[in-house]
Structures are given as structure tokens and as C-alpha cells.
Symmetry: C2
Subunit: 153 residues, 2 copies
């Protein structure tokens, strides 16, 4: 028998990074189908819209920071949304480099439909968790993000 037993076997299923990634992937894809097929939105586009819905007015940079998406990805999403008339973009008075983004009327209307859909979908997903467990999950994720930030610095 070859020397194939490095002490302890390694189970990917119990390896947090893998497990988390595969769960997130599955969820993200399932949800993506929802906005892609029903509203022709990519994930990046949906994120931009959701942030604008939440924060009213933002620049591309702020969105980039909030979502940790690549500059280019944000830029393309913004462009597509503007082309579709879902957002308005206008150069900032004080700094012509920055562009202030906000939802258009059409954008607001779309979100008025989309947000409840997304919420309902999430509710179904987390149905098997109690409120306390749901909160705990977020709490744990918060802690992991904190640690991640620490490790990265």
C-alpha cells in the first residue's frame, strides 16, 4: 500500500471555506436566475440598484467600496443600467471626475417590484431557521468578516 495516509483524512465538506463558498454559490445562482430571467439583470446590476435604493445617491467608488466589486465590473453595470434608463448619472459639481448616481423613476418602479420578490425568496430560504438562529448566523458572519479584515492587514 502506497504511503497514502497522511495521518488524518481531509474532508472538504467540513472545510469552512469550501462549504461556505459552495452554499453561497448555490444560493446566489438560484437567486440570480430570478432577476436574470424575470428582469434581465445581472448580479452586479442588481447590487448597484439595491445600494442605490438603500442609500439614495452614490458614486461608483462608493458602490465599489460597499460591494467590493471590481472597478470595471461596477462601471459596466452602471453603464448598462443607465442605458436601460434605470438610473441617472450626473457629474458632481465640485469634482467632475465623480459621477453621482441615483435611481430613475423607472428604477424605483423596478425595485418596488424586485425588493419584495427578493425578500420573499429569502424568507423561504431561511424558513427552517428560527429568528434567533437567523440572527446568530449573521452574528457569526460578522465575526468572520472581522477576522478576515484582521488577517488581511
Amino acid at each position: 500500500m502506497p504511503h497514502d495516509a497522511p495521518a488524518e483524512r481531509f474532508d472538504l465538506e467540513r472545510f469552512l471555506p469550501y462549504r461556505l463558498d459552495s452554499l453561497a454559490d448555490r444560493i446566489s445562482q438560484a437567486l440570480a436566475r430570478l432577476y436574470e430571467t424575470r428582469h434581465d439583470l445581472s448580479v452586479a446590476q442588481w447590487r448597484v440598484l439595491a445600494w442605490l435604493h438603500h442609500r439614495e445617491q452614490l458614486t461608483a467608488k462608493q458602490i465599489r467600496e460597499a460591494t467590493r466589486m471590481d472597478k470595471a465590473r461596477v462601471s459596466r453595470a452602471v453603464q448598462a443600467l443607465e442605458d436601460r434608463g434605470l438610473i441617472h448619472r450626473r457629474a458632481a459639481r465640485e469634482d467632475q471626475r465623480r459621477h453621482e448616481l441615483r435611481l430613475s423613476e423607472a428604477g424605483h418602479a423596478l425595485l418596488a417590484a424586485l425588493v419584495p420578490e427578493a425578500r420573499a425568496w429569502e424568507a423561504e430560504l431561511v424558513a427552517p431557521l428560527s429568528i434567533a438562529e437567523y440572527r446568530q448566523l449573521f452574528e457569526l458572519m460578522d465575526r468572520l468578516e472581522g477576522q478576515l479584515a484582521r488577517l488581511e492587514s
Copy 2:
């Protein structure tokens, strides 16, 4: 003021799919840097190796099922690993379509180095969680996966 207040504001940060995805992404990327820069492995390749380490012998299909990766992605990862001599591939006796995959000596050697690294990295990440919390996290993920499976069918 435009009709911009659809009852309740929507906070992406507290939307599970988004939150989970962005956390998983960050973790996955950080870890990916580890095997990419130190061992020149892609995530897909790492997963194939890890599964072979865990299960000894598998076909591409089994890996695909286990990891839920695309056929093509698995195929390419396998090919790259074979080219590098990290795995052996051989047609199955009873069914020439299937190819049985197993780690080569070099593959075992690589994993002997890689697995402890991965474990150590994970340990650092979850350092702020207690054992109980760590278990609970997996438990919650298990439940969510179960629900996901139910929703998809």
C-alpha cells in the same frame, strides 16, 4: 419629493444571499491566493485534489456531483492536473467511457503539504469562534442546504 419610499428600505448588508456570497467570496479569494501563488493551483484543481485525497478513487462525474462544478470545469481541472503529473487517469475496465482518477505519488506529496496549510488557514479564520459556534455554523449551513434542495425540487 419623488415617490421614492417603497415602505421599507432594503439593506443589502442584512440580506442573507448577498451577505453570504460576499463573505464566501472574500474567504475563497484569500485562500485561492494561497494555493495559486504557492502551488499554482486553481480553485477547481484544489477541489479535485482534495476530493481524491478524501475518497481515494473517483470518476469525473463523481467529482462533479460532489462539488457541483460544471462538467467542463472539472474536465479542464483534471486535464491540467494530469499534465502536471499530480493524478493518474485510467479508463475503467467495465466502462471505457468512465475514467478512474487517483492521486499520483507527486499528488500525495503535494497534498501532504497543502492540507496542513489549508487547515492552519481555516483555524486562523475561525479563531474568534468557539467550538460550539463553529459547529453551529455548520449546522445552520446544513439546514440551509437542505432547504435549498427542497426549494429546487
